[in-house]
Amino acid sequence: MMENPEQRVGVLYDGAPRYPAKTLDGRDYYLPPATVHFIGSNRFVVLDGIPPRYDVARGVAELEAALAPPAAPEPVTGEEVHDSPDA
């Protein structure tokens, strides 16, 4: 599980950048970032300068998965429903 995924996402808000605290790979970096990848909805991630061989698409997919809200529990089926004794 990726730690603090929201720290890795920047936003263009009213045309001004709110830079993320970490690169997509979770490293510190100096401002301004030289390599920025846009992931939709005015959001962006910072890629490492002189990056190691790195799969950006996979990194973004992992980030999106980490940012996604937890899935709602599946409705329970096949069980008999009893009235509450207090009803």
């Binding site: 045309g15 001004a16 030289a34 300068g49 002189i50 950006v56």
Partner: protein, 288 residues
């Protein structure tokens, strides 16, 4: 007046070149960019001096009856080599010219770099050096001078020197000819029209250093805006200061706005290569 005194190196930008001749920022695989990404050069923190290359000019002449007669040159036989001097040992710069990443994985709090002296693949760069350009009226402007080429390097030395810059690092620069301007236009179509449609030096003067940015289009990002590393001094996009090219052609008509660090416009096709040159005072203070 267009005569000015060049002093200092206030900005040094270095970007990898793709095989097609476009600057691709710090991307170690410049022929394999990721769409929807802004790639910007490395801004070297401690440049001190560039000693220019001296081309070798071929000459032939006639001498007979004790007197010189005809003399001519067909041009140069070599571009020569220059020397770039940095005040500090810069592992990011070295990683870039050597094509190897700085390892911050083996020990996450350390920085580990290879000398890569067995390299067999010289990597080509677009290098932009910006001195002050001082005119007769003492108004300060900046001249950004672009060069294309590759570097060779030496072992790391050390000494017991004191005072200012006691242990400079020197790198040999091997200029090469480029078929494209810094913003990707083919020289064959360029107004400057150099002979043989190639060149190894290109000078641009404006009120601030030209900051270089490359954006690889993803067919959507420009709608909401893309992010430049340095704020342009001018918000115009009509061709006065900012140079906005896509795939080597003037594309300023596709740009609808420049605000702060954000450029908006009409997206192109995924994979289109935008190269933007924007005068920016901010690059002077943030090149740290």
């Amino acid at each position: 007046m267009a005569s000015d005194l060049l002093q200092g190196i206030y900005v040094l930008q270095i970007a990898r070149l793709s095989s097609a001749g476009y600057p691709m920022g710090q991307l170690l695989t410049p022929d394999a960019p990721v769409a929807g990404t802004v790639y910007s050069p490395y801004v070297v923190p401690a440049p001190v001096e560039y000693q220019p290359a001296t081309p070798t000019w071929v000459e032939f002449e006639s001498y007979a009856r004790g007197k010189p007669r005809g003399r001519a040159t067909p041009g140069i036989s070599s571009l020569g080599t220059g020397t770039l001097v940095l005040a500090e040992d810069d592992d990011t710069f070295e990683a870039l010219i050597k094509g190897k990443a700085v390892d911050t994985t083996t020990a996450t709090a350390a920085r580990i770099a290879s000398g890569n002296f067995a390299s067999n693949a010289p990597r080509r760069f677009l290098v932009g050096l910006t001195p002050i350009a001082l005119a007769y009226d003492s108004v300060i402007t900046y001249k950004t001078i672009w060069k294309w080429g590759y570097f060779s390097w030496n072992e790391t030395g050390m000494n017991s020197g004191e005072g200012r810059n006691p242990n400079n690092r020197s790198y040999t620069f091997h200029p090469t000819l480029s078929p494209r301007t810094p913003f990707g236009q083919l020289f064959s179509a360029a107004t400057v029209d150099p002979d043989n449609d190639t060149d190894s030096e290109y000078k641009m003067r404006d009120s601030a250093p030209f900051a270089l940015t490359t954006y690889v289009d993803d067919n959507s990002g420009l709608t909401g805006g893309i992010l430049l590393p340095y704020t342009p001094d001018y918000t115009e996009h009509a061709g006065a200061h900012n140079i906005l090219y896509k795939n080597g052609s003037d594309a300023k008509a596709s740009i609808s706005g420049i605000s702060g660090k954000t450029v908006t416009g009409t997206p192109g096709t995924s994979g289109d290569i935008w190269v933007l040159l924007t005068p920016s005072t901010e690059i002077l203070s943030l090149a740290a």
